[in-house]
């Protein structure tokens, strides 16, 4: 059944959408959009290192993302610069280091466009396995720690006072985020992964009224974006990653319409 490249792309994309739904909700609740972006930028360094030392790309990206997350925590203790400044510093320095290192590895041909925007049409059966098995592990852990993580997201002090140990769960969440980026970097690319995290979650927020509903609708919207996006790219021969994001943003715009109408009706 996975003989067809398009089926492989669809199965992988849907797998990624199922993981990015809940994590994307947490990212926007916790105002971590730019943090996701920073991890994604640093992924380029991870990919370069993977080529240099012939490591598995997902593994190498995961390690680099985790290191960046720990560096951020450490920097926050040492300086009073605002979080967004530190993230900008880390994002662009790791991006630059990645590109410089790439220059040293002139013997290897890099597909820069592929790294930036991903190439979901070239996924292999191993990639499918990686996304679905890795994704199940991530979702399994998330399900297990949901209550603690969610209470820490609503209010850190409250969670801390009532024994939910928010520090530990915040750390685990960061690692899960690094994991998602590592799994999806090859298919979606460093520049677009944050879009797939945030846009379906944001769309879902417009049409839901409780946290669980928001998570499930975000997953559905993610799956819808991937499916329609891939069919569009097949039909019009556009690049697949960007097509998925364009569909996601169109769905977001549609989600705004009922709100507008409701506002007018109340007046």
């Amino acid at each position: 059944m996975f003989d067809d490249f398009f089926t492989r792309a669809l199965v992988t994309g849907i797998g990624i959408a199922i993981i990015t739904g809940p994590l994307g909700c947490l990212v926007i609740w916790r105002r971590l959009s730019y943090f996701g972006d920073t991890l994604a930028h640093s992924a380029l360094l991870g990919v370069t290192l993977a080529y240099a030392f012939s490591l598995n790309i997902a593994f190498s990206v995961f390690i680099i993302s985790a290191v960046i997350a720990l560096l951020l925590l450490n920097l926050q203790k040492r300086t009073r610069l605002a979080g967004d400044s530190l993230l900008g510093l880390l994002a662009h320095s790791t991006l630059a280091i990645g590109l410089v290192l790439m220059g040293f590895l002139s013997s290897i041909r890099f597909d820069i466009m592929g790294l930036l925007f991903g190439d979901i049409l070239s996924v292999t059966v191993e990639d499918i396995a990686l996304v679905w098995i890795g994704g199940s592990v991530i979702l399994g852990i998330l399900y297990f720690i949901w209550k603690s993580l969610f209470s820490a997201t609503v209010n850190f002090d409250l969670a801390s006072a009532e024994g939910m140990q928010p520090n530990i769960y915040n750390m685990i969440f960061t690692l899960l985020l690094a994991g998602v980026i590592a799994l999806s970097i090859k298919m979606i690319g460093t520049l677009l992964i944050t879009g797939l995290l945030i846009i379906p979650a944001a769309t879902s927020r417009n049409i839901t009224n409780n946290p669980k509903q928001m998570v499930f609708v975000a997953i559905l919207i993610g799956i819808l974006s991937v499916t329609i996006g891939l069919f569009t790219s097949l039909e019009f021969n556009t690049s697949s990653g960007p097509s998925i994001i364009v569909i996601a943003i169109i769905l977001f715009i549609i989600s705004l319409i009922p709100l507008e109408l409701r506002g007018k009706l109340q007046k």
């Binding site: 926007i28 609740w29 105002r31 209550k147 969610f150 209470s151 997201t153 609503v154 209010n155 002090d157 409250l158 969670a159 801390s160 006072a161 009532e162 024994g163 939910m164 944001a202 927020r205 839901t208 009224n209 409780n210 946290p211 509903q213 928001m214």
Partner: protein
């Protein structure tokens, strides 16, 4: 039962340092089961910091703290819940607690906001939100309850209601309560032990002792402390008529 078994938390000479100064220093206090201990003092005197030490949100930089329970509930001074998080009152009630619908309704009923069950948290008024916060804490059936200015934003009648509820909680659940309050009337009339803070402990003891203390009068001004002496007297009278001893 020895008195030791009733001890819930014990701070000894505890302090928190945040560069470049001590937020609070040399705090010793204890909360026992069935007791209401209040922290009073001006803004920035370390009331919330002390409460956060008791809750282990902040660890003391000097001195020590011992907790004898982990069934703790907290009503924080201020919570901002961002619009990006869709949250109904019922979801909020279950934040750190597994409750069924009946238990949620029952607790909301106790603070008079049962009708808000399915409302969005963002749509509540300040006073309604305080009531939900208190209901959530009650639902946890804690052994130690820490309340940081629980009646702020509540209207006058509501304030009396909530203070009555707080008194009932300490009796019904037999829990210890640490209360941060600006309402000196309630503090002096209904609580067991008062700790007056201003970066350190100015004075502490039973309400009747504290209001006579020079440090207390200096901190709150002669006029206000006298007004409260009057209230205290008023309370004694009520208490006598409630009790079995006739005057």
């Amino acid at each position: 039962m020895s008195s030791k078994n009733n001890l819930l938390v014990n701070l000894e000479n505890a302090g928190v340092y945040k560069s470049p100064k001590w937020l609070i220093k040399g705090v010793s206090l204890e909360v026992r089961r069935g007791q209401i201990v209040t922290l009073i003092g001006p803004n920035g005197s370390g009331k919330t910091t002390t409460a956060k030490m008791v809750l282990s949100i902040l660890e003391p930089d000097e001195g020590s703290i011992k907790r004898y329970t982990d069934k703790i509930a907290y009503v924080p001074q201020k919570i901002n819940i961002d619009w990006t998080m869709p949250l109904r009152v019922v979801d909020f009630m279950r934040l750190t607690n597994n409750l069924n619908d009946n238990e949620v309704s029952e607790s909301l009923n106790q603070t008079g906001v049962e009708k808000l069950f399915k409302e969005q948290i963002h749509g509540l008024s300040g006073g309604e939100f305080q009531r939900v916060l208190l209901a959530r804490a009650i639902a946890k059936k804690p052994e130690l309850l820490v309340l940081d200015e629980p009646v702020q934003g509540v209207d006058f009648n509501g304030e009396i209601d909530l203070y009555n509820i707080i008194k009932n909680i300490s009796a019904n659940l037999n829990c210890g309560i640490l209360l941060v309050s600006h309402d000196l009337h309630f503090v002096m009339s209904a609580t067991d032990h008062v700790v007056c803070l201003n970066g350190h402990i100015c004075c502490s003891g039973k309400p009747s002792t504290v209001i006579k203390d020079k440090a207390y009068i200096e901190l709150f001004g002669e006029h206000r402390s006298k007004t409260l002496t009057y209230y205290q007297h008023d309370h004694d009278h009520t208490h006598n008529s409630d009790g079995s001893v006739s005057s």
